[in-house]
């Protein structure tokens, strides 16, 4: 290792540059500058461009003119937009609730001792690690009206007389896309909570057992408080990612039937790029901002607190 090589003090020939590489007030900015430039040019600048678009009536064919808040006013009068907003909240709340229940449950299971533990732990991660839209294609095929394996199982096991219209019945379709989103996100929740569980020192359980705490009390007073910081972070990230998700709805329904499954990301794609109403599309995606801001600020404050302590 480089530690064992003797380092003799070099004569400082590069006197002109040494202040730059040896002074933390100079080196710090130098090392973060490329990142700042990249994010300024390709995050902050596009964001400003998006705001400009949202305040204009730009289309693919026409650069458009400034129209103020017209796009936003029109959106809130628009039945499809209002339904999309509603869908997005149902989609997010439903998926995150399922992720939480399945994810924490799975983490508790994976924390037990059992055979093939390593193998099973890798296997349940699959939905999270494979490309989202490719995994979604398996579900699209499982929801197929004619060849749905889910319907085949439901009918052949005698649970139902006829199969379900997973993606063609408007109400069921919103449930189906939500379920697939939860399928994809559950492993993330589980593996994060599992890591939190495994960092809990075992003597805490021993001590609480000596004090007479039962299984439920140990979970309530030892496990839960210690896992909570990790759980909340995983929760915030899950909410942000679900709220802004594009791939699952695009892969399964493209927003249909009759806009029943449109979420903000897919509607902004359809209006902004597919139909070419760039101003309207940009406005739709920017309406995600209030919710995102609240979550981001909340997360920032939590992190501040934890690093101070």
């Amino acid at each position: 290792m480089s530690l064992t090589t003797p380092t003799t003090p070099r004569p400082r020939r590069r006197r002109d540059l040494s202040w730059l590489i040896d002074n933390e007030r100079a080196l710090g900015p130098l090392l973060v500058a490329p990142v700042v430039l990249l994010l300024a040019g390709l995050v902050a600048y596009p964001f400003a461009v998006a705001i400009g678009y949202a305040l204009s009536d730009r289309t693919l064919a026409d650069p458009g003119v400034f129209v103020g808040l017209d796009n936003f006013v029109d959106l809130f009068d628009n039945q499809i937009y209002r339904q999309t907003l509603r869908n997005t909240f149902i989609f997010t709340a439903g998926s995150v609730t399922m992720r939480l229940v399945f994810g924490v449950g799975l983490a508790l299971l994976l924390n037990e001792n059992f055979r093939f533990r390593r193998f099973i732990r890798s296997a349940v991660l699959l939905p999270w690690i494979v490309p989202t839209v490719l995994g979604t294609m398996a579900w699209l095929w499982m929801f197929n009206p004619n060849f749905s394996v889910l319907n085949w199982i439901l009918v052949h096991s005698g649970l139902m007389k006829e199969g379900l219209e997973w993606l063609t019945d408007p109400n069921l379709a919103l449930f189906s896309v939500t379920l697939v989103n939860a399928w994809r996100g559950t492993p993330f929740m589980a593996i994060t909570v599992l890591a939190g569980l495994q960092s809990i020192p075992h003597d805490l359980y021993d001590a609480s057992a000596i004090d007479g705490a039962g299984k439920v009390q140990r979970f309530r007073y030892v496990t839960l408080p210690l896992v909570m910081p990790v759980l909340l972070t995983a929760l915030v990230l899950s909410i942000i990612w679900t709220f802004s998700d594009f791939g699952i709805v695009y892969g399964l329904t493209k927003g249909g039937p009759m806009n029943a499954t449109h979420v903000l990301a897919t509607l902004s794609y359809q209006q902004g790029l597919a139909s070419g109403n760039i101003g309207e599309g940009a406005a739709i995606s920017l309406t995600m901002l209030p919710v995102l801001l609240v979550l981001i600020i909340w997360q920032l404050r939590r992190i501040r607190r934890s690093t101070v302590i």
């Binding site: 900015p29 090392l31 461009v49 299971l109 924390n111 972070t233 940009a282």
Partner: protein, 288 residues
């Protein structure tokens, strides 16, 4: 888990184990892994069996590689794979080259604006790609990369770099500073101490950051869909979906074969690094 005093008295431990462990675990596996089994057997079924309602959908009677052959002979799957490899490798390299030194600076060096910059980078990590894809089309046109696969190499670092910086600054904080202090007394510069001492020590962290960055770019969809339209310039996720689902007609066999092959590389990478994955996530998550 070791038995706790209260648990020894359970009337029927075996039945309890089934009820509280094997049944829920079975359900979890069915839900989470089942779709991949279904993907696999569909990819292996010849069309004659696939679309025959009288055959059981649960297993393959006469496996065949027809769908894989179709994928290689009648689509540009090989090109998509090369494209995905190239984009993922280059954007990961960029992300590490920028993110590791920046993570080091934020963890170790005191300079004006460090707090603000650290916060700003963390905020961009939380900004979803679906917020920026519409203006990004125009920004890429402005720098002459419209409809080019190189636009992805330039754009992916925008979400990879904040992630790598965040992860690495958390990792550097866990390495004791004494070694760098000694090296500096021995005559290394600040930069030298980072390059020769801290970065070699951070190799496990850099490895996991690189793996996550690679898979994030491998899996990316919305930019790959909107910034690139020529079929020969597509990545696997977009190529498979756009070419194999035309209007209302789906090539189910080749679609599942493509989905499977597109998933295998990341699945293999992760199965080796699942432990680093979990610890990396929580190191970042807890310490920020």
């Amino acid at each position: 888990m070791t038995l706790q005093p209260g648990e020894i008295r359970s009337a029927n431990p075996r039945a309890e184990r089934w009820l509280y462990f094997y049944a829920p675990m079975g359900f979890a596996l069915f839900f989470l892994v089942g779709p991949f089994y279904w993907m696999l057997i569909t990819a292996l079924k010849p069309d004659s069996e696939l679309y025959d309602g009288t055959k059981s959908p649960l297993y393959v009677a006469t496996p065949s590689l027809d769908h894989f052959r179709y994928l290689f002979e009648h689509t540009e799957f090989v090109t998509w794979t090369k494209n995905t490899m190239m984009v993922a490798t280059l954007s990961t390299a960029i992300a590490l080259a920028l993110g590791v030194p920046a993570g080091y600076a934020l963890a170790r060096l005191r300079f004006r604006g460090a707090d603000f910059i650290g916060t700003a980078i963390f905020v961009t990590y939380l900004v979803p790609t679906s917020l920026l894809f519409i203006p990004m089309v125009e920004v890429m046109a402005q720098i002459g990369l419209d409809d080019s696969i190189w636009s992805l190499v330039v754009v992916y670092p925008t979400f990879l770099v904040p992630f790598v910086t965040w992860l690495m600054s958390g990792y550097f904080r866990t390495i004791p500073t004494e070694l760098e202090d000694c090296a500096r007394i021995d005559g290394l510069t600040r930069l030298g101490a980072m390059w020769k001492i801290a970065i070699p020590l951070a190799r496990p962290g850099i490895l996991s950051a690189g793996i996550f960055a690679f898979t994030l770019s491998w899996n990316e969809f919305i930019y790959a869909l909107t910034l690139v339209t020529a079929s020969s310039e597509r990545t696997i996720p977009v190529g498979v979906i756009v070419q194999l689902t035309r209007a209302d007609f789906y090539f189910w066999g080749p679609l599942m074969a493509g989905a499977l092959l597109g998933s295998v590389p990341v699945a293999i990478v992760y199965s080796f690094f699942v432990d680093q994955y979990a610890s990396g996530l929580t190191a970042g998550a807890v310490k920020g």
